[in-house]
Subunit: 236 residues, 2 copies
């Protein structure tokens, strides 16, 4: 898919190599994904062009505008994610640890970094990605409940959503507060985060946190029969 080996920059025109046009586009696109992942979406077209070894004008020539370039990057990243997912669908089905599987390969670090930047940014890509993760989580938890591996919930959809948001959110916050200089460090950071969080996560998932059902029962009582409407609706 991407020009790993022989495709260096060719400053002036192409000779043989009928894919010259294609590779230039792809080179710029990959450089943009990496730059966006590294510096955020404020990265300049000039920096991307420099990384790709071309002039800024060529970027416009191929993509029309920076926004169009970013949209294409979004599509590319999303397609790559789907690809990786299909490849590792057996692994991912194990426990929803799709992130870990596709972050374990260092070559995917730019993709992961791009997705995280999108989450910081709140773009459509991020929404789509998170929605996708939530839909997957619904399937996983349903399956886990059916096989007796997980306790049932009063609202499976809400639980799947919460579990996904909290897991992704914790990772996002961690990476944001302690960002890697090099996207390839992302893998290391993610591993460090997993190492620090996996025990409390497993504890929480298997042993819970509270010893008493009082808070939960109180809340359930409150939901089915709110004691005071005005207090709940005063600022809505």
């Amino acid at each position: 898919m991407l020009n790993v080996r022989s495709a260096e920059e060719r400053p002036t025109g192409r000779d043989r190599t009928p894919v010259a046009d294609q590779t230039a586009r792809a080179r710029i696109r990959d450089a943009a994904v990496l730059r966006f992942a590294t510096d955020g979406f404020g990265a300049s077209v000039r920096a991307i062009a420099k990384d790709a070894g071309v002039s800024p004008g060529l970027v416009m020539h191929h993509f029309g505008s920076k926004d169009a370039l970013r949209e294409l990057c979004d599509e590319h990243v999303l397609a790559r994610i789907r690809e990786l997912k299909n490849e590792n669908i057996d692994h991912a089905a194990a426990g929803g640890n799709f992130l870990q599987t596709f972050a374990s390969a260092e070559e995917n670090a730019p993709i992961l970094g791009y997705v995280l930047r999108s989450m910081q940014d709140g773009s459509a890509l991020a929404r789509e990605f998170v929605d996708h993760m939530i839909r997957d989580a619904v399937q996983y938890t349903e399956h886990a409940v059916a096989t007796g591996l997980a306790v049932p919930s009063r609202d499976e959809a809400a639980r799947a959503r919460y579990l996904t948001l909290s897991a992704l959110g914790a990772l996002l916050l961690e990476v944001t507060l302690d960002p890697p200089e090099d996207p390839s460090d992302l893998v290391a950071i993610l591993n460090r985060f997993m190492a620090a969080s996996y025990l409390p996560l497993l504890e929480l998932y298997t042993e819970g946190f509270l010893t008493t059902r009082r808070m939960l029962d109180d809340y359930l009582m409150y939901v089915t029969d709110p004691p005071d409407r005005t207090a709940a609706a005063e600022s809505a």
Copy 2:
């Protein structure tokens, strides 16, 4: 470190119009906090000046630079948070729902928005705020364990950190993916998020998620006696 009440220093001057000098500074500062919360830290000095009803030059005259203005905003927000915390220390001690208590007042929406923007940005303020929340969580959980309200953890610090990161991260992700147009909507969004997440959170905290201890035991076994060192240390 921080000017608690309304009386700041008066660098030069006369005491007629006792608040004229002061109000200008404060008005710009408050406008900056609000703008930063609304538009992020890319907001222009011109926009802030316009909101405050002054010229851009005056902003520089008072604060020296945009970065200095932001640092002062950070200090102001942090001081305000400490204030609110001391006011509601009894409420906050209930269950760590400090966020809810100080987000319930609509007047604090800019403060909350500013903190969330800082988290997106990963600034020092965000780090300090999160660290503070984690330290509080350690105290709360310790107290909860001591009174038998919470189950003990094999690593209290790691659990407190994970619980805090997941809660704040979920909120951050929610707000980022579905940002409010008006910071005052933040309260509504936070309430909506709480409404959607509180049930699964309580379920998870009291009933857990997994029915079997196998994953936890496997992990504990793995930690104390790693089956394969190379796989774990290959990319560290």
